[in-house]
Symmetry: C2
Subunit: 344 residues, 2 copies
Amino acid sequence: MGRPPSAKPTSFDIAYLAGVSQPTVSRALRGSKSVSAATRANIERIARELNYTVDKNASSLRSQRTHTLALLFFEDPTPDESMINPFFLSMLGSITRECALRGYDLLISFQQMHNDWHVAYQDSHRSDGIILLGYGDYQLYLTKLEHLVEMGTNFVRWGSVSDDGIGLTVGSDNVGAGEQAGAHLVEIGRRAIAFLGDASDHAPEFQDRYTGLCRAMRAAGISPDPALQRDAVSSEASGYAAAQSLLAGRASFDAIFAASDLIAIGAMRALAEAGLKLPQDVAIIGFDDIPAATLTSPTLTTVMQDMKGAGTLLVDALLASIDGRPVEQRVLPARLIKRQSTAV
Amino acid sequence: MGRPPSAKPTSFDIAYLAGVSQPTVSRALRGSKSVSAATRANIERIARELNYTVDKNASSLRSQRTHTLALLFFEDPTPDESMINPFFLSMLGSITRECALRGYDLLISFQQMHNDWHVAYQDSHRSDGIILLGYGDYQLYLTKLEHLVEMGTNFVRWGSVSDDGIGLTVGSDNVGAGEQAGAHLVEIGRRAIAFLGDASDHAPEFQDRYTGLCRAMRAAGISPDPALQRDAVSSEASGYAAAQSLLAGRASFDAIFAASDLIAIGAMRALAEAGLKLPQDVAIIGFDDIPAATLTSPTLTTVMQDMKGAGTLLVDALLASIDGRPVEQRVLPARLIKRQSTAV
DNA sequence: ATAATATGCGTATACGTATACCCTATGGTC
DNA sequence: GACCATAGGGTATACGTATACGCATATTAT
């Protein structure tokens, strides 16, 4: 049981000083109940004095648990590679916070993963599980998700809940949010409501928002006009183009519900350039409540998602899945933030 | 040399199939030149067929190199914990990209670290080095930096280059950028130029920008008026307050140079509420070129920093330091982006 | 031809921790 | 007082890789 203290302290050094064996040190520090209170206290004291920290690699190697999660972004490739959807960024904060709270480290990557990103983080024992974020081309990565399931990888993703049943999903109540937006527009007297955002199953979340809008319109006795829907991905440029296309169309409209704030902001620019007055001529609602939504003129009415709750729920669900605990799909409520763009 | 293939393949499995010893597999996959081309090719083929990946923990434990960097944020605590300075976020993209390119993983944390964050990532062998980002209270963490140096921890930080000589710093040419901004304001005929941003040594970057502004003014024969400087931290609220204080002061001004875009945006709101016309009554320049700078009205003239270069340089410098290669402090050029807020 | 190198690879072992298993002393049970 | 359970902690070993060393065989120098 010899061996004097050396450079970076190990559990052996502590054991030596405490007059016990190395395994006892390990047990004491990990809270095993087969160590007496006195011994534990002594070991903890020495550990503190030596500034001892458990070697993450050795610990992970032995226990096969890394206490690390990986966060992967799937985004449409943007011209500027360093651009990240502001919406996801605000989620980042709550995820890191939640991980820290649970004693987990967080690995992060924005890379457009090649074919075997699934291998990269789980098989090589870098992380215990994966969080997937992204608006990216949805169909394209479904097969990869299936692969993940097949390999027994633990993962959760943010998106449209219960869309395909692959793995675990956490998301906002997009349909409900769409209904709120639609109801508000109807309430302020709008009847020809356009929707900007992909309504196909390539973007389930956008589709859900459109579904909610339509539901609200029908509840008010309005029948949604398909001619007033335009595809758009979540970017200002795409919103600008979609709004121009709408303006060029024959169908008139007095309101727009955009599937994201970036789309809305692009659309507002197109409308302003066309000489339309907001919100008098066209009321507009966005989605996400990004910081810029308060800077536009008029300020943008939008749907705020519960970012803090999202981070918590994602990490929560993933850890449950890792620990083999049962876990239910959960949907987060969203809230309509009324600003000038719908104030008439 | 026995042992048949098992569940998750290890280097032993490959060795068994290739008819060589485990160390040879390790050597082959790591590119050692003491393995024949034929043997190497065979081993690589088998590894591919088995979907083999090196176990990160075992590898790190043995080699004492994690091939992982840690990114830590120091921010002023904000009411909303999940808010992150948009400026740093745009750097995040280029850092992750650079890490991936070099084969490094990236650990991330936004936590207001307690007293011993320095220990947390290096001593426990989670990462080979640390990248520090933040506008936070500068003096407050100087002692911690010294501690890092003392412990032999590898780290780089973003900030004002050559301010204190502690560790390695990468940053923009803040003085030069301040000069550009000042020169531009002088060029459009402004002479009473106010500065919003802490000019003390609590915020060396802001101080540098102020220094540059003063230098440009003096070059034009204008003597900077200390009464036109107001402290502000990088937030909209702080900028708003600073501008109000300025308006309440007796000294008149026809231009503002704000130390960050968030400050500028807050100031613009205060000016607009005071009934001033931008840029006719007051021209304004920000710093950072955050996305919102194009959304304000008028759109905001600002200084764009080289984010991509920043990420590359930070990672570059850190890796050099880790590898014991010599590394020089480097400064990145910044560029003035002229928009409506200075268009007269 | 013989000694000196180099090439290619096997043997042994270390990295630091966590856990299965075993042993000893104590206390309680009848 | 023999018997068994329990607490407390030691012994041995595994996790999967990387590297120091040694030992053949092949190559070159002399």
